[in-house]
Amino acid sequence: MAYERRSRPSGPRKKFFHRRKYCKFCSDSTIKIDYKRPDILHDYITERGKIMPRRITGSCSKHQRELTQAIKRARSIALLPFVVTEGR
């Protein structure tokens, strides 16, 4: 019995396949993070309007900082929403 148990695959290691994340702005330097470009910033906020964390988008810390700054500025001039409520 004990032997059988040991032969099972250990842990959920091969369950998921992770695509390697990369920073979009590092690999393509032509894209500039600008608060006046909500089309770019839209990829980095959730449906609710929250800023997406780095662990999900894969952007590097430098560009995440710039993104945060730009998103906050864009919100301030109504290019991006502060919150998106469900009933709208």
Binding site: T30, K32, D34, Y35, K36, R37, P38, R73, R75, S76, I77, A78, L79, L80, P81, F82
Partner: protein, 169 residues
């Protein structure tokens, strides 16, 4: 006049020439004449305080991401200018009073710049504009592929101000 009095009247940023960008959201339902009048008024406010306007960008009417003063749409105007911090103070004071302005935001794009750099940029912009006009007229006159490359080079520089800030340094 005491030394202290002079000091308090001096702008917070000192005499440094700085580059700013102000986004103004005006009422969307303004008539065309009023809109141009409004743009011209703030242009002159910047000029009066010895600021130099590099570019005025009119985005036109856009849908707002959230309601401002119960308005769902707003007309966007972006001023790209250089000046000392008292220009900004005066501009924002006036924007705050204006009922036609829903919201505004000023962003510092370059904390240190020189008059020469700005003059250079203005002439470059003017040159590009005339080139674009020539290209556009050439396009309409004869639909040749020669006009296409000039339009491509004009596009990335016009869409974002960030590359110009890099060049200054």
């Amino acid at each position: 006049m005491s030394g202290l009095g002079v000091r308090t009247s001096e702008p917070r940023g000192g005499k440094a020439l700085r580059r700013y960008e102000t986004v103004v959201i005006a009422q969307a339902n303004l008539p065309e004449d009023d809109m141009t009048g409004l743009i011209e008024r703030y242009n002159s406010i910047i000029a009066d305080r010895k600021g130099t306007v590099v570019k005025i960008d009119r985005w036109g009417v856009r849908k707002l991401a959230y309601d401002i003063r119960k308005q769902t749409r707003g007309a966007y105007v972006i001023y790209d200018f250089a000046g000392t911090s008292d220009v900004v103070a005066e501009l924002e004071r006036n924007l705050k009073i204006d009922d036609n302005v829903l919201k505004y935001m000023t962003v510092l794009t370059d904390p240190e710049t020189t008059a020469e750099n700005i003059m250079k940029e203005i002439t470059a912009l003017a040159k590009k504009e005339t080139e674009e006009k020539v290209a556009a007229s050439a396009e309409t006159a004869a639909e040749t592929p020669a006009a296409a490359p000039s339009a491509q080079t004009g596009e990335p520089a016009g869409s974002s101000e960030a590359p110009t800030a890099v060049e200054e340094k």
